[in-house]
């Protein structure tokens, strides 16, 4: 039961993060492999506030969200001047840079050893220590995220974002402000990633750079792609499927030394196979 609950909590955290990636990659069509970096920034900020100050969880989460909004906008800005593949470079660069910061800034992030002993979240004075309580919190957060995403997709703004993906020039010619729409989407994606990062840090009570590296970004992209890009259902399904996968893999006899590589290998294979045979994923729209 406890195992199922922690699976649920983790999956819901990744649902929030998946929504962030889906918004950028699926809806607006901006390829991003740096969402794990933004996720990490959120996690480290919340960890910092909970461990070093008397600030409680929700304000810390708000600060993390705001920082990630700003960060995601800054990350997106240089590539707004030039589109397409230049964003890939930016995105890879940000991811590698963030990993360098997480690993080498020992004062702030604990370096490669990570930060142990992050206290559990408290909401309105109540400490949420048990998995059931945490599951309730993440369910509420993920639920809010999903509702926000759903409303956004129905709104004119959602249609504008999808139109930008299909034909940016036409949208600009129709008098819409493409720049503002992209920046808003990036901001929203940043907020989602920041909040999920904060939840992640407090749930695991330990964070280290390996949770926020390029591999993590690839896992995240795999979640969105397998679940199905561009739809809410896909972003919800993907994390649940992908997080169950390591359990399935543990049934196969793999030496522990190569288990991590084997897992990552499977994610890569999934990306290729889905792109070849079912780019829309399990529950998505045509990519």
């Amino acid at each position: 039961m406890d195992f199922l609950l922690s699976y649920l909590v983790l999956a819901e955290i990744y649902v929030l993060l998946g929504l962030s990636t889906n918004l950028l990659v699926g809806i607006v069509g901006i390829f991003s492999v740096s969402q794990a970096a933004v996720f990490g920034v959120g996690a480290y900020i919340v960890a910092f506030f909970l461990m070093n100050t008397s600030v409680s969880f929700l304000p810390a989460l708000a600060v993390a969200a705001i920082c990630c909004v700003v960060l995601n906008i800054v990350v997106t800005l240089p590539s707004l001047r030039v589109s397409g593949d230049y964003f890939v470079v930016t995105s890879f660069g940000i991811q590698l840079l963030a990993t360098a910061v997480f690993t080498n800034w020992t004062g702030g992030t604990g370096g490669a050893n990570g930060l142990p002993g992050i206290p559990p979240p408290d909401v309105f004075g109540i400490q949420l220590a048990s998995n059931a309580q945490l599951a309730l919190l993440t369910s509420i957060m993920a639920g809010l995220g999903c509702i926000a995403f759903w409303l956004l997709m129905r709104a004119p703004f959602g249609r504008l974002l999808r139109a930008i993906r299909e034909d940016e020039l036409a949208v600009a010619a129709a008098g819409k402000n493409v720049l503002r729409a992209k920046v808003s989407a990036a901001a929203l994606a940043g907020a989602f990633a920041g909040v999920s990062g904060g939840l992640y840090a407090t749930f695991l009570s330990f964070i280290d750079p390996s949770s926020f590296d390029l591999d993590a970004s690839i896992l995240l992209l795999t979640m969105v792609v397998v679940g199905g890009a561009r739809t809410l259902a896909g972003s919800i399904l993907g994390p649940f499927v992908l997080l169950a996968l390591p359990q399935l893999l543990s049934l196969v006899e793999i030496p522990t030394t190569i288990a991590a590589a084997a897992r990552q290998l499977v994610y890569g294979l999934l990306l290729i196979v889905f792109m070849l045979f079912r780019p829309q994923g399990l529950l998505g729209e045509k990519l």
Partner: protein, 287 residues
């Protein structure tokens, strides 16, 4: 004195990176694919050579065989993956995600076979010191890297401008549609291009690890730096890509005077942002 040594080191790394940039640029300007998996080919070449050397194959022969293996792997990628995606009218994003998946597969396959630890090439000659006077020292393999990579640059220039296949490649790159109706067979050219680029990238792919050791995840940072050099040099310009690679590496090495090496990715990225803001088309833009 230290500065001069760092400058020379920068030239060494830069020449190696320059060849990565040229080969990536060849693929990018012809196939219009952001071939992220090229980093995997780069790493794979080193591991193939390592295995051969460990089985007693002479170093030169190991390098040549690694190039052949990489060329075949590259051709296979084009025929089995990119061509199929093109046939299915896969969008740019789909191809990019598939390429990223392929990178994950190659890297983790290598990690699973050879372990994720750094491997050192055997071979006593490579560590021998060449004294350039004034106390500037290079190892023999570094010296060789510079010569081979400059020769590779000259070779690529001659190939692109003097040979029939080189001209055919440039024709396909500049107008695939016209190339199709004049029976230059773009599809075949694409296979040649990716095979040639994969073989060429093995030169630094083998020589650099000969000096610094092999690591399965070691290809991403060089490729990122090379892509930044390609963009800053102007997409499509061989000379631009090569010169900017050298320039970026020199700046990166000189930055060691004022900050620790962990942050060199930050320096690279800073160069990229400057170019994005002030000269997004690059220094040697073709058009």
């Amino acid at each position: 004195m230290v500065a001069l040594q760092l400058f020379v080191n920068g030239i060494v790394t830069g020449c190696a990176l320059g060849v990565v940039a040229i080969s990536f640029s060849l693929i990018y300007s012809t196939l219009r694919i952001f071939h992220v998996a090229h980093a995997g080919i780069y790493t794979m070449g080193g591991y193939v050579a390592y295995s051969l050397v460990m089985h007693g194959v002479p170093d030169i022969l190991a390098l040549l065989l690694a190039m052949v293996a990489a060329a075949m792997a590259g051709a296979a990628i084009q025929v089995l993956l990119y061509q199929r995606l093109a046939a299915r009218k896969g969008t740019h994003l789909v191809v990019l995600i598939a390429s990223l998946g392929l990178l994950a597969v190659i890297q983790n396959l290598l990690a699973a076979i050879y372990s994720a630890n750094i491997l050192q090439f055997p071979g006593a000659w490579s560590g021998e010191i060449v004294n350039l006077g004034d106390g500037i020292r290079l190892t023999k393999v570094q010296f060789l890297t510079v010569i081979v990579c400059i020769l590779a640059y000259i070779g690529m220039m001659l190939f692109a401008h003097r040979t029939l296949l080189g001209k055919r490649i440039r024709a396909v790159a500049s107008n695939p549609f016209l190339a199709e109706i004049t029976r230059l067979r773009p599809q075949a050219v694409y296979v040649y291009v990716i095979a040639i680029a994969s073989a060429v990238v093995c030169l630094p792919g083998v020589l650099v690890p000969y000096d610094l050791g092999l690591q399965p995840y070691g290809g991403v940072t060089p490729l990122l730096t090379a892509t930044i050099a390609m963009i800053a040099g102007g997409v499509g310009s061989i000379t631009g890509a090569f010169l900017l690679s050298v320039a970026i590496s020199v700046v990166q090495n000189l930055s060691l005077l004022v900050m620790p090496g962990e942050w060199s990715i930050g320096v690279t990225f800073f160069v990229f942002v400057i170019f994005m803001l002030f000269r997004p088309t690059g220094l040697f833009a073709a058009r």
